[in-house]
Amino acid sequence: DQQVKQNSPSLSVQEGRISILNCDYTNSMFDYFLWYKKYPAEGPTFLISISSIKDKNEDGRFTVFLNKSAKHLSLHIVPSQPGDSAVYFCAAEAGTASKLTFGTGTRLQVTL
């Protein structure tokens, strides 16, 4: 039972354009969401997060949008840079559970 889903295994975007990565969840108890970036042979690196009381959070080139009614969140990267090429994981947390539930990841390739 995949509670966090990233339906696009890969995405290719030109440098300078917007990258949009999507994530859907099924568990209505999730109230905190995070995006992690992962390079090969490294652990996931925290990127940005959003609480369920908000619908948008911005940090530089990265913005996360949350649509609670649709149980959907997205990560926007503007402008995309070649160094953004990595696997991006969406993760969710429920209340005081602390443990993270991850999606299967989306591989982003930013081309020149």
Binding site: P44, T45, F46, F89, A97, S98, K99, T101, F102, G105
Partner: protein, 113 residues
């Protein structure tokens, strides 16, 4: 600054062998997590410590998996009688306290032959 470190980075084990994976969390971080990441999948939760107390071990796949954090700092994940399906990357994460951002180590890649 020092992040989460894990050792060994790579481990090859024969089926049936016991292995021990070590995690050094960020200094001062109270919470420590272990995750298992199979090829092509996202990390999956194994277990969680608050200081030396193991508060959640619901993700451990079998009683062959055992984790400890005796002094509330370094943690060891032990897998007894390894099986081929145990082959995965084992990730450790720590956070200042529960519900704070989790910071991950580089992982230990375990291959069971």
């Amino acid at each position: 600054g020092a992040g989460v470190s894990q050792s060994p980075r790579y481990k090859v084990a024969k089926r049936g062998q016991d292995v021990a994976l070590r995690c050094d969390p960020i200094s001062g971080h109270v919470s420590l997590f272990w995750y298992q990441q199979a090829l092509g999948q996202g990390p999956e939760f194994l277990t969680y410590f608050q200081n030396e107390a193991q508060l959640d071990k619901s993700g451990l796949p079998s009683d062959r998996f055992f984790a400890e954090r005796p002094e509330g700092s370094v943690s060891t994940l032990k897998i007894q009688r390894t099986q081929q399906e145990d082959s995965a990357v084992y990730l450790c994460a720590s956070s200042f306290n529960k519900q704070e951002t989790q910071y991950f180590g580089p992982g230990t890649r375990l291959l069971v032959l």
